[in-house]
Amino acid sequence: MMKLVHFELNGQIVEVNQGLSIMDAARQHGVKIPSLCHHPDQRVKANCRVCVVEVEGQRNLVSSCSTPVTEGMKVRTNSPRIRETVQTILELIFANHPQECLTCVRNGNCELRHLAADYGIREVKGEMTCANAPLDISTPSLVRNPNKCIKCGRCAEVCHHVQQTGILYSHYRSVDVSVEPEYGKSLAEVACVLCGQCASVCPVGAIHERDDIKKVWAALDDPEKHVVVQVAPAVRVSIAEEFGSAPGTIATGKLVAALRKLGFDRVFDTDFSADVTIMEEGHELLHRIKTGGVLPMITSCSPGWIKYIEHNFPDQLPHLSTAKSPQQMFGALAKTYYAKRAGIQAENMYVVSIMPCTAKKFECQRPEMKDSGFQDVDAVLTTRELGRILKQAGVDFSVLSEEEFDAPMGISTGAAAIFGATGGVMEAALRTVYEVVTGKELPNIEFTPVRGMEGIKEAEIDLSGTKVKVAAAHGLGNAKQVMELIKAGQADYTFVEIMACPGGCIGGGGQPYGTTNAVRKQRIEKCNGWAKDVRNFLHYVFNYSKL
């Protein structure tokens, strides 16, 4: 059982579990201590000092994010000294920060701005010393604005410890500190996979997705263009958060209605092409098993993961499935199959995707993604950008009534609905394989976590007597462990799913701000519940149609 400790919080005795920081303990008792460098899923960094409190018996103020509560401790979170200190710290940050809130991409959801508002900062004393360094616009996915960086180190933490891609880190010392790649290189010059997890945890506008909203408006405003949109599965469990709903709210119907309001000619579903990806991957897997091809086969849907393996395990590329990702399958089909059916020239088509992902912006402009003779997908908006474009257009999400996707590319089996969460792609593909081989429906897969490797799970499936071992990993740090096993020939898997982002696409780098692991869990739960409904429904339809 958890041991309890008692401590005095602003004069009241309260009880909390042992091991909590003063910050977390205070929060449990209704006191929110300001924070900037702290992130609930990260290790303590304690570098911003806005979370200082008074502890009786200690001469200096202590940072509450890094100090554990002990029995009998007497803590003050609010005193003239604390207020003055925090005020000074904030003013120092502001004196070093461009005052561009009105035109900032984070206007509305910036943690620093919220803090300034909560703390009632009305003037910035001292000299403005804001840097005017050039922005890093070297990639199609991300923009890094070093002038707005408050050096909290949250991006470096996610990049080094979760993704283990090791791109962003803090350099130099004291007033010269910078958080960037080595030698001040741009993101395009290093092995950045453009997953956007850094952008997702940045408290301010120092690193964010490249904004492609203008491009999309230009296409929508062009009467010559037939503009179609596809929406990825993971967007429907997160878009409502942009409009204040609880994490994990499923809003498929409203999402379709909202996109129609924006003026898209057709609103389609990436699930349609995800089905195609599943069929291809499933059959490729079968083929590899039968013909002694390269195993394990690894999924290829996640462009951050593809860029990662290209940089870090180039000799392991034959393990990748040759199937394109659903986004790219959709683009190619839209500009060929759909264009032909609708009697539209491919050059007059404009394909937009709504993705939970910043790496998709990179994927769509890869030179090989031009099956239709044109760039198959023209523009990608992240969930966050979709939220912004809808607000710009004055679409009131909350009062919309639910609408259905357009035919033909809005129809899907539903098998792809689980694509958004970790393990989903693999399960969907296995379903195909299982049904082809056994003629039966795949029973629920029982995954077990791999010992000592949180974030990697495995399962065994009986394919008419042949045992097939499969694994799913999410987050590139976990992917790295799996890849090292595969490279060393120590993995007896037949099929492996890898998603670059923690939790899979529902935790993608383009999802609404505040995507913590707790929020990821809520989205996955909703995804799973919903997928179960879809499965039950399909089962029903399947049996019914046999009657």
């Binding site: 290790r43 090791g166 803090s170 350099h171």
Partner: protein, 163 residues
């Protein structure tokens, strides 16, 4: 995460950082240009299985490590108040004049680099300069010229015996 684990993590990081610093110093000492090159940063990262940016972070944090090529000898001039008062300007002017470079630069024959540091720990003997690991206290414009000549002569001897 438990605070105990956090503190353990911090300890490991500190230890790793110190180990990395030792490696960087050794690499720098072995380099004819007295610095850690980008290739070396990449190699250290590869062999320690840490990111290049981690290695660069430590290298750029410590003033003992240079990320730019330097001369064979590093001349450090204290730029703090005590030396300033004791006539540092004059000493610096002589050094710059004799070497034909300004603070922060390296002579074209790659023999000397002139660096400003804050405090050499020799305020009792200000003005002071340090060449490599040797401290010269209470220097005068004249003594600085003599000291430089010794280093020059030694350099010539080395070059002669080499050829």
């Amino acid at each position: 995460m438990k605070l105990e684990t956090i503190n353990n993590n911090i300890e490991t990081i500190v230890k790793e950082k110190q180990a990395l610093l030792q490696i960087l110093l050794a690499v720098q000492d072995a380099s004819p240009e007295n610095y850690v090159s980008e290739d070396s940063v990449n190699e250290i990262a590869y062999s320690l299985n840490v990111s290049r940016s981690r290695v660069y972070s430590t290298a750029s944090f410590y003033s003992a490590i240079s990320l730019k090529p330097r001369g064979r000898h590093i001349i450090r001039v204290c730029i703090n108040a005590p030396c300033e008062n004791a006539g540092k300007q004059e000493i610096l002017a002589v050094l710059e004049d004799q070497l034909g470079i300004i603070l922060g630069q390296t002579t074209s024959d790659r023999q000397f680099t002139l660096e400003g540091v804050s405090c050499l720990g020799a305020c009792y003997a200000s003005p002071a300069i340090k060449i490599d690991n040797t401290l010269y206290g209470d220097v005068t414009p004249e003594s600085v010229i003599t000291i430089l000549q010794e280093y020059r002569k030694e350099a010539e001897d080395v070059d002669c015996s080499a050829s």
